[in-house]
């Protein structure tokens, strides 16, 4: 799975947690989850849990802390997928 494919999948995972559908449609690797997508910081946990389920991977606490923008989310997910 390449980065673009992961980004498309990530969009679906993020959808229930943001009201800004326009921003969501146009996300790129620099999109910040909290600042740009206005996602409640408490919901980052839910996004990680959803991603774990979707990719059948485990994302540990240290990796989870890195997931602040779309690019870092893709980094963590692809690293786990290739682990």
């Amino acid at each position: 799975m390449n980065r673009t494919e992961i980004l498309d999948e990530l969009k679906k995972i993020l959808a229930p947690y943001t009201l800004d559908k326009e921003q969501l449609a146009g996300i790129n690797e620099n999109t910040d989850l909290i600042k740009d997508l206005k996602i409640n910081s408490a919901n980052l946990v839910d996004i990680i849990i959803d991603a774990e389920e979707k990719y059948n991977v485990e994302i540990d606490y240290d990796d989870a802390e890195k997931m602040i923008n779309v690019g870092s989310c893709i980094d963590v997910i692809s690293a786990r997928l290739n682990a």
């Binding site: 229930p16 009201l19 408490a42 919901n43 946990v45 839910d46 849990i49």
Partner: protein, 422 residues
């Protein structure tokens, strides 16, 4: 202390009607909201009927954001949000605000979190998967979940709290909101209560053998307050909310005023003198009613209608006796009396708020709603009061003053006095 407190908005999620128009029609026409519950038969419960609102879960999207809706599982919270936001809109207020509404608080009662929804939590924890629970469990497990969702949606910035006092919860929430405005601590209060009797709570009541179990094949007849065949109560679920306002504030904005709250009293019989965890001390009940009348500065003879607690158990006769003693009225002189539970069952924490909305509608629309399922009145009650005072069909009448009381486990009592606003 000259402040007066009025009701300017109402919302209701009742087993016999979701929304005020449907509910008003139901209580005027004696429409039951008690239904057969196939699941309860499957679970081998003795009582297999319940009062359950025809609630469409997806309709919550009209009230809360998609993000809030996603992950909301607590049925009690869903009911509460709907009733509260309907009441807010009914009072003529907008939902959205950028600034906190500092002058407005919320007291919304609740009993337990939705155990059915919490079952998933228990399973995951037992499975050593606690890390998969996510961020949305705590806010729904906490007793104040319902107030947190409501106050958050509306930006309420006054005191926000959840009260809990069993079956007296709803009336008590209203009384607390009334007191808060009366003392000048808020201009507006959103008050009410919510209850979802999930199978686990229901099962526990079933095991106490306090539920109606002889009418599983005729659910609408199962809740029979004041009747000779009253063999236990029927659990019900739902919520209701009221907007209370300082009269001056309401008048200034030209609000529609449904009714006035004249006063009330909340106490306990101390689980003494015949009172216990499950039974009220008559002296406590009588004192609660008497104190409510005194605080309202009315004479007991002015009460047109009593909206009783009257759950359809052996306690109904004692309750009528207590009202009669407290008001010093009996026979033909007793006020009209009705029990909404004949139509919707006993909504526990939500009983007081749903029944108070019914009270306000009866004041506003000049009627006393019928008592259904009363074809065989309890002879003991007939000795105390004239049965004409217990209407079987709708009575058209000006209801100027109405007394509403609820009594709950733990020997707790609350009585409110509502009146027409004049």
């Amino acid at each position: 202390m000259s402040r007066r407190v009025v009701v300017t908005g109402i919302g209701v999620v009742s087993p016999n009607g979701v929304g005020v128009p449907a509910f008003l029609n139901a209580i005027q026409n004696g429409i039951s909201g008690v239904k057969f519950m196939p699941l309860y038969q499957e679970l081998n419960f003795s009582c297999q009927v319940a009062g359950k609102p025809d609630f469409v879960w997806d309709d919550l999207k009209k009230y809360i954001s998609e993000v809030t809706f996603h992950g909301l599982k607590g049925t009690n919270i869903g009911y509460g949000i709907t009733a509260a936001l309907d009441a807010w809109a009914d009072a003529g207020f907008e939902y959205d605000t950028d600034e906190p509404r500092w002058d407005t608080g919320c007291i919304f009662g609740n009993s337990v979190a939705d155990t059915e929804a919490m079952k998933n939590v228990i399973i995951r924890v037992d499975n050593k998967e606690a890390r998969k629970l996510g961020s949305r469990v705590v806010e729904q497990a906490m007793n104040s979940g319902v107030t947190s969702y409501i106050a958050g949606r509306l930006g309420l910035g006054g005191m926000i709290t959840t009260n809990s006092s069993a079956c007296a919860t709803g009336t008590q929430a209203i009384l607390m909101g009334y007191d808060y405005i009366k003392h000048g601590s808020a201009k507006r209060m959103l008050v009410g209560s919510s209850e979802y009797v999930d199978p686990y709570v229901y099962g526990a009541f079933d095991s106490m053998r306090v539920l109606s179990r002889k009418f599983n094949d005729a659910p609408e007849k199962a809740s029979r307050p004041m009747s000779a065949t009253a063999g236990g109560f029927v659990p019900g679920s739902g919520a209701a909310a009221l907007i209370l306002e300082d009269l001056d504030y309401a008048l200034e904005r030209g609000a529609n005023i449904y009714a006035e709250i004249l006063g009330g009293s909340s106490n306990s019989g101390g689980q003494r003198g015949g009172g216990s965890m499950t039974a009220p001390n008559p002296a406590g009940v009588i004192k609660s009613i008497t104190d409510a009348v005194i605080s309202s500065q009315i004479h007991p003879d002015e009460i047109d209608l009593v909206s009783g607690h009257l759950t359809a158990t052996m306690a109904d006769k004692q309750e009528i006796q207590n009202w009669s003693t407290a008001l010093k009225r009996s026979g033909k002189d007793f006020p009209l009396v009705n029990s909404l539970k004949s139509m919707i069952g006993h909504c526990l924490s939500a009983a007081g708020s749903i029944e108070s909305v019914a009270a306000i509608l009866q004041i506003k629309h000049n009627f006393a709603h019928p008592n259904i399922n009363l074809d065989d009145p309890n002879p003991g009650i007939a000795e105390l009061i004239d049965l004409e005072r217990v209407p079987l069909t709708l009575v058209k009448k000006d209801i100027n003053i109405l007394a509403k009381a609820n009594f709950g486990f733990g020997d707790v009592n609350t009585c409110l006095i509502f009146s027409k606003y004049k």
